[in-house]
């Protein structure tokens, strides 16, 4: 009978008995007794376990029994401390992999899982005027549609409209800041269930009086305009119009426009903010032809999104007959707001991207787990004596299994702590990164409760992944040790399987990273069709300063004049959009015979082409003296000219641009309009003085560096038009780089993941070869002393590893083919079977794994037999 329950003894009692047995074994072994016999004798000499246990219990010490998990934990802590090197390496491996996962999750949490801040958010819905599957059509509405739907009391408790507001806030004498906000329905805060932090929302009286009132976001209110001044109750200058701040939105409320952070809310009756309506013009919020609003509704209790959608669809024919301008071609979709992060179409992309990222990072975590599992398998084989002793002292197999698993949990917990620390540091660093996007993206990264919970879950999963198999394997081996085995039965096979799997993952990630990197190079080398250096771009938001088409020439002349005082600048030209930019403007171009299509439109100054390096291959650019009243003219791109040629329209012919007859005066070489990878995309250039612009990009060119050109341009713009809000500023290089942001992030992520996986694999291989050569040191020393060449001994050590790596590479190639296939859509000018990517990945993995195997093997051949015998 074994000791009835070894856990009945305190940790210290157990430790003391263990030390006693070790002393006894050591003394016997010194006297020539075989180790396994010595252990049995030592344990037998302890006496009958039940009797000793009874004697222990007789001693009156109430705090004697330290049982259960606390004992496991203490033993695990002792193990961790006793093997600090292993603990550190395992913690770091797991910690870094957990950190990568936690960082990615915190971004996903911030973008896709953020809380809307609405009360009872499950009953708030998005109301789209187009199918969620129709990605080519923006699901916007006119304000009157919101009013129509609000009357459907059987479905909705309330419906609100809102539209983005790009504003210019006066923050001091002659000082302005760009501000993003929303023009909203009067019942906006009530319907969304948002209780204001301070003040009140828009009232019925405000609506009747058309009052110029505003609610500011919490963060804007906290910052104020000037030190010590409370924004609430004060009057602010928005787009040149005075608004009284009547309320402050609650902290964390970002508005209704998904993905952005709104800082100010003005009522719809103040549209267009800062501009005077022409006499007799329909106010924007009454105009059924103005489709710029978005809609949200609060469902009545008992009504779900699907039935609301079905109801609206059933009413469409009647509404279309009554208001064809509002409802022709409308297709209603109703989706719960808490199921939409940005928009259904964008969400589909974001979720699949997030899934792909998490898949890659989980693969890295798996490689790290395999590494630690390999270490644990090696260590388990060396712990047979200790475990055998505990087993003899009465610990059940389940009890020992629990002990081993607790040790894995401790490593996972340390890894989670390390991972969270790294994640927090990364979040701090990411917060400081200025996103190269000219919009207020709401990306508030934080170490939130959900990020911590996620980390705890993946750490637990990691503990199972790397701890359970080695623990079970070690326990299985205890039986073989008792029968005179080495304590490593099947261990080398298990370690080989682990390393093969690590190599396979590493190969797949390296191939994936290689393919994306090659694709990035190809994409970066694409000629955008414009100059790529020596230029700065400053983008101005004209709407909020009330600039009209008529006043535009004055602005351009002012900027040109100011730029003339900047010797760095060679030219200053103007455009409504820059190739490969974020702004997208289109016009309808027809051949006058019914064939019409939407094409990208650039409203540019006459000297734009020469300054940015676009060749006019036929005809000319615009004359310098273009006026709004003059003959409408256009320059078309080569691809548009080719298309028009099919309708016998050429240089000097007339086309319809938004139904206005326009003469083609020139044909320009194609530029990349939206994406570097796009095929030639038809586009059209119109004089700025005729087409106008909402956003105006001022391009300053220079023979020198782009940063100098940008600085000079900024100074010139500030000098000429201090009241115009600067929406964005960047060098031409940064501008072009922005379009490569997504592929660069994807390639960087995969290359980082692959590097991590490779590094972890190399550490695993190094450790495994070192362990196996360590176990064979004596054999190697004898072989060497008998005259075996060192290279043969090295070969004998690393040959099994070569087979292991080889099988991993074979599996990895299969896995790579799957990854390459899934990346096909993201590759530019690179085949999924790209030989270079595969060759580099294979060379890297084979070369580095050989080195990682060779180094410890070589070391093993340097052991001298005499020293070995002396030591023993």
């Amino acid at each position: 009978m074994a000791w009835r329950d070894a856990t009945d003894l305190s940790t210290e009692d157990l430790e003391e008995l263990e030390q006693h047995i070790l002393d006894s074994v050591r003394a016997q072994v010194a006297a020539g007794v075989p180790e396994s016999t010595a252990l049995e004798t030592a344990i037998a000499k302890l006496g009958e376990p039940w009797a000793v246990g009874r004697e222990f219990r007789k001693v009156d010490r109430p705090a004697r029994a330290t049982v259960g998990l606390s004992l496991d934990l203490r033993l695990a802590l002792r193990q961790a401390w006793a093997h600090k090197g292993f603990t550190g390496a395992a913690t770091l491996s797991i910690g870094v992999a957990i950190a990568l996962n936690a960082i990615a999750f915190s971004v996903i949490d911030s973008v896709l899982l953020a809380d809307s801040g609405y009360a009872d958010s499950r009953s708030v819905v998005e109301i789209y005027t187009a199918s969620v599957d129709d990605v080519g059509r923006p699901p916007v509405a006119s304000w009157p549609i919101a009013d129509d739907l609000r009357r459907e009391g059987s479905i909705f408790d309330g419906v609100v409209g809102y539209e983005p507001l790009f504003g210019r806030l006066r923050v001091g004498d002659g000082q302005y800041e760009a501000i993003f906000g929303e023009a909203v329905d009067g019942s906006y805060f009530d319907v969304l269930g948002v209780t204001l932090e301070r003040g009140h929302a828009f009232s019925g009286d405000d609506a009747r009086l058309g009052a110029a009132v505003a609610v500011v976001g919490w963060e804007r209110w906290r910052r104020g305009l000037r030190e010590g001044e409370d924004l609430l109750g004060s009057t602010i200058d928005l787009n040149g119009e005075a608004f009284t701040v009547v309320g402050v939105a609650p902290r964390g409320f970002k508005g209704a426009i998904s993905g952005f952070s709104s800082e100010i809310f003005v009522p719809r009756w103040r549209l267009p903010v800062g501009r005077t309506l022409a006499a007799g013009a329909t106010p924007p919020d009454q105009d059924r032809g103005r489709w710029q609003a978005q809609l949200k509704g609060r469902l009545r209790p008992g009504v779900d999104a699907a039935s609301a959608e079905a109801y609206l669809t059933s009413r469409l024919p009647e509404w279309t007959a009554q208001e064809p301008e509002s409802y022709t071609d409308v297709e209603f979709s109703v989706v719960r707001s808490d199921r939409v992060a940005v928009s259904p179409a964008a969400d589909r992309f974001l979720y699949s991207a997030a899934g792909a990222v998490m898949l890659v990072l989980v693969a890295v975590l798996l490689v790290a787990c395999m590494n630690v599992a390999g270490f644990l398998l090696s260590r388990g084989a060396d712990r047979w004596r200790e475990l055998q002793m505990r087993r003899a002292l009465g610990a059940t197999r389940a009890r020992l299994l629990r002990q081993l698993f607790t040790e894995s949990l401790l490593i996972a917990a340390l890894g989670a702590g390390c991972g969270l620390g790294l994640c927090a540091a990364a979040i701090l660093a990411l917060r400081r990164v200025d996103l190269p996007i000219p919009l207020p993206i709401d990306l508030e990264l934080s170490l939130s409760a959900s990020v911590v919970a996620f980390t705890v879950v993946i750490a637990g999963a990691a503990a199972v992944a790397f701890g359970l198999v080695p623990a079970v394997h070690t326990m299985k081996n205890l039986g073989s040790v008792a029968r005179g085995g080495t304590g490593d039965r099947g261990g080398s096979r298990a370690r080989s399987a682990v390393i093969s799997a690590q190599v396979a993952f590493s190969v797949a990630l390296l191939v994936g990273g290689g393919l994306l990197t090659r694709s990035l190079w190809v994409e970066a080398a694409v000629d955008p069709g414009i100059r790529t250096a020596g230029a700065g771009i400053v983008t101005l938001e004209l709407g909020s300063s009330g600039r009209t088409l008529e006043s535009l020439p004055d602005l351009l002349a002012g900027v040109r004049l100011a730029a003339a005082t900047q010797p760095v600048l060679d030219d200053v030209v103007f455009t409504s959009r820059v190739p490969l930019g974020t702004v997208s403007t289109t016009v309808r171009v027809g051949d006058g015979r019914g064939d019409e299509s939407m094409v990208a439109e650039f409203a540019v100054s006459e000297d734009y082409f020469s300054a940015v390096g676009i060749a006019i291959t036929e005809g000319t650019a615009f004359p310098a003296d273009m006026t709004p009243e003059g003959e409408p003219v256009a320059v078309v791109s080569r691809s548009l000219a080719d298309r028009l040629a099919e309708s016998d329209i050429g240089l000097g012919s007339s086309i319809l641009v938004d139904s206005v007859p326009t003469r083609i005066v020139g044909i320009a070489e194609d530029v990349k309009v939206s994406r570097p990878r796009e095929r030639p995309t038809p586009h059209i250039y119109r004089p700025l003085s005729q087409a106008g612009a909402f956003l105006l990009s001022v391009v300053g060119t220079s023979g020198g560096r782009s940063v100098d050109a940008l600085a000079a341009l900024q100074a010139a713009v500030a000098d000429a038009s201090p009241d115009v809000v600067v929406w964005n500023r960047q060098t031409i290089e940064d501008h072009l780089d922005l379009k490569l942001l997504a592929p660069r992030v994807a390639a960087g992520l995969l290359v980082t993941a692959a590097s991590m996986a490779l590094l972890l694999t190399l550490v695993g291989i190094f450790g495994s070869v070192q362990y196996s050569s360590g176990r064979r040191t004596r054999e190697m020393a004898i072989r060497l002393s008998l005259g075996a060449p060192a290279r043969l001994v090295v070969r004998a050590i690393i040959l099994p590893m070569v087979w292991t790596v080889g099988s991993g590479v074979a599996m990895g190639l299969g896995l790579s083919a799957l990854i390459a296939r899934s990346l096909r859509g993201a590759l530019v000018g690179t085949s999924p079977a790209d030989a270079v990517s595969y060759s580099v990945a294979l060379s890297l993995i084979i070369g580095t794994t050989l080195v990682a195997s060779y180094l410890p093997a070589r070391r093993a051949t340097r052991v001298e037999l005499r020293r070995l015998l002396d030591d023993s």
Partner: protein
Amino acid sequence: MPSKALVSASTRPLILTLLRPGESYGYEIIERVRSLSGGMLEWSDGMLYPLLRRLEADGLVESRWVTAENDRRRRYYRLTRAGRRAEEVARTEWSQMSRTMAAAWAEGAE
């Protein structure tokens, strides 16, 4: 081989006496007993530790942990002031008993 009763009666005084010169640990105490008795006294190793714990509970010995090789810890025991007094009493009693027994054997032999 001494009787179980005699072994049992001598255990406490023996441990106290072995600890008089200085601190020692369980395995060393057992080996010392085995050596001094010429192998006649064979304690069950496991029984020593509850006894040491009892002596500690009675305030006759105290223990401390010392880190040995391989980061393992070993528990050392030494006499307390009360333990020294108890050891002296035990020594006196066992000496008297021993002298008495020796005298009785001498008388019986005459």
